[in-house]
Amino acid sequence: MAETTSPTPGPSASAPASDAPVTGPAIRVRLLDQQGGKAANDPPPVPGVTVSVADDSGSELGSAVTNDQGVAAVAIPGKGTYEVSIDESTLPSGVKLTGKKTLTVKVNLASGQNVAFPLNGKVVEATPFAERLVDSIVSGVKYGLIIALAAMGLSLIFGTTGLTNFSHGELITFGAISAYVLNVTFGLPLILAGLLTIGIGGLFGWGQDRVLWRPLRSRGTGIIAMMIVSIGLGLLLRNLFQFFFGAGTRSYNEYTSQRARDFGLFDLSDKEIAIMGIAIVAIVVTTTIMSRTRLGKAMRAVSDNPALSASSGMRVDGVISSVWTMGAALSALAGVLLGVNSQVNFMMGYQLLLMVFAATVLGGLGTVWGAVIGSLVIGVITEVGPLLGVPSSIKEVGALIVLILILLIRPQGILGRAERIG
């Protein structure tokens, strides 16, 4: 059977096993010198080794010697169970068998079966724990910083309006998608698209407030009712995104797959460094605005007591508008960064939402610094957890459990303040 195999990618140009002179169903053994795992991608073949095949009753069907490609083929009558063994004595010096001498192979493919014997197999030489730990912490910080942007947005809006915004995830998705449209549909460079998206995201937040939340506030709608409205809005937006963007995952046309660089204890690609850098700048700018400027104080004032803020001469609606603008812009930025990190999908924000909530609550609802700290904690625990035994398929569980544990000790969150009674 003449099977065609084209060269596999990368440095390894492996020789096709079909070079063996046997046609029809066969057991083909391929011997490669792993060199203790060092030859990961290009292990040299081991020629001149004898292998033999027996059927399940033990009677030998034939034997063969590996050729230059390290391949030996023994014809078999058809499907069934066979025993394949290697003659260790024929191994060249310096090459040792590191697995079983005899393999029991159940053949159910018409063309037969390929078999290997590990030679000089890998001595378990996985990356040292310390390095993995540092690596995980770094990815945790990166993840945490992205969450932080969204969490600050959430916290700002919660802090000022008291609204637990369940449609916050959609602000993130909105950012990612609008950058996608600018970048892919309109062909702008991603950096420009990202910058524009911050503006568009802000505009989206502003518009949302104008069209929806402000009228609700002026009708005197309660906080819980508004929270439910946000659930409805989230549902609406999510499905609208899917309606127009589709259910698939798409990527920006720049910086999608970038190779990591080795920094000793950890690896990072340029785009990851950029993500972290941008996030940090955004965080610093936001916290400065919050603590230094009049607007920052006004935001906190409005969050405490909107009526009194109005009585102090603040345009409460104006302040809330700026909060929505800022919060949405931050979240849109988070979306862009997340999109750069792990593509664009209509669910991406929603999937992140629980983590964003967890981060905000962990830090203490309504405090901007708390949101940042909470996010970093959540990000790092999520990524480090699998090293410490959290099943990696459900690594979020680690962070969520830590959330509950911390709230046990500090019910008001890390930076939250307990309220005075009486």
């Binding site: 159910n108 995980s136 190779r259 999520t382």
Partner: protein, 397 residues
């Protein structure tokens, strides 16, 4: 078939519910969700089959009818509701779901309602195990992953991969296929360095990708659906992308990636997809139904699922789910060979025992309702993110 079609129609009337006389096919296939890219060929297959059945005179004297349903993802909870809808619409056979995970969530419901569930794409081994090992109302035209796993393992060994990392979605499909690849590899003397599962809805895959990278594998098998688009760039980022480490896809992610920015990275990536090579003529018939088709995965299996169940209904003389189930295995094996609905239906009209060989292969059903042998195609990607078949490997399950 051994029993013969001649007597069965009388038999079945006694212990099997009588259908309403109209043969209704419900389809529970992915319009949305992470398999949505496979929806169009599957729907086209069903539509084509229904069209040809009706051109050939329908089933039991009436036209067959197709009711569409969306299977969504396991986590979108769409499937159970849509299944209810199809059952209400008096479907006798529900073709679907594509994803094994989704099928698992609706199987008891569909079977409990006395309707046949007939998947064109489920490859999980779970459907031949435990409770479902017994004959029931569940059938499929796709081969169990025992086969795809063996082919994949064989391919890896052939390529000289001895330290393989498997990155798989955590569902009925991913878990069992990973398991099959792993046991195949180990039996053939190769080794699995790490098997890492990710949750379907995970917001990030960093930890799993780190797992893979940390194992320093010489090959990566990626068992995924649409998430592939998110995972590939992350693999690249960690230095274990397709250009660093040989990468293998499976039926869940062999798709056209030419629109993706990482398309070029995929050069040389190989993948396996169950199913025989679709003939050009069949493709044309499909294109007549849906001119926009790009992929053809599981179109043939969908088509065959409808044809065989229609034939079973005719053989049983009754269109109820139970009646169809009682004849389904029979019409696929032992008897006079036939390859089109018209041909087979004519034979049945003459009270002959038939053996339908479809466009997806000879379809010899086991008692548990799964094919006993099939072909698996091996594909390879080019520089533009497109793929083409390299060879087809036949095997038994």
């Amino acid at each position: 078939a051994c029993g013969g079609g001649d007597e069965s129609s009388d038999d079945n009337d006694k212990d099997v519910a009588k259908g309403d006389g109209e043969f209704v096919v419900g389809s529970l296939l992915p319009q949305t969700g992470s398999l949505a890219f496979l929806g169009p060929p599957e729907f086209a297959g069903v539509d084509l089959a229904v069209q040809e059945i009706n051109e050939a005179g329908g089933v039991l004297g009436k036209d067959a009818r197709h009711v569409k349903g969306d299977s969504g993802d396991t986590d979108s909870g769409i499937a159970p509701a849509e299944a209810d809808k199809l059952i209400k619409a008096k479907a006798d056979v529900i073709v679907g779901a594509a994803s094994s995970g989704v099928s698992m969530t609706v199987i008891d419901k569909i079977l409990g309602a006395g309707v046949v569930q007939y998947s064109p794409a489920n490859t999980s081994t779970d459907f031949d195990e435990g409770k479902y090992a017994e004959p029931d109302l569940y059938f499929r035209t796709a081969p169990s992953d025992v086969l795809q796993g063996a082919v994949m393992a064989n391919l890896l060994v052939e390529d000289g991969r001895q330290n393989v990392a498997i990155l798989a979605r955590q569902d009925s499909y991913g878990e069992t296929l990973a398991e099959q690849v792993k046991s195949g590899l180990e039996a053939a003397g190769s080794k699995v360095a790490v098997t890492s599962f990710y949750g379907e809805k995970a917001p990030s895959y960093d930890a799993q990708v780190d797992d893979v990278a940390a194992a320093k594998p010489d090959a990566v098998v990626l068992i995924a659906f649409d998430e592939t688009k998110k995972i590939i760039p992350q693999l690249v980022g960690k230095g274990v992308g397709p250009q660093d480490v040989a990468t293998y896809f499976v039926d869940g992610n062999v798709a056209d990636y030419s629109a993706e920015s990482f398309a070029a990275d995929l050069k040389g990536v190989k993948g396996t997809v169950p199913g025989a090579e679709a003939t050009g003529e069949f493709r044309e018939r499909l294109l007549a139904i849906d001119p926009k088709l790009k992929d053809y995965s599981y179109a043939a299996e969908s088509y065959d699922a409808v044809i065989t169940s229609a034939l079973a209904a005719i053989a049983a003389g009754n269109d109820s789910g139970e009646a169809i189930a009682s004849e389904l295995v029979e019409v696929t094996k032992g008897g006079e060979k036939c390859t089109t609905f018209k041909q087979c239906a004519d034979l049945l009209a003459d009270d002959k025992d038939i053996d339908y060989d479809g466009v997806s292969g000879p379809i010899e059903m086991s008692d548990t309702g799964s094919p006993t042998s099939a072909s698996i195609g091996i594909y390879e990607y080019d520089t533009k993110g497109g793929y083409k078949a390299v060879k087809y490997i036949a095997g038994d399950i």
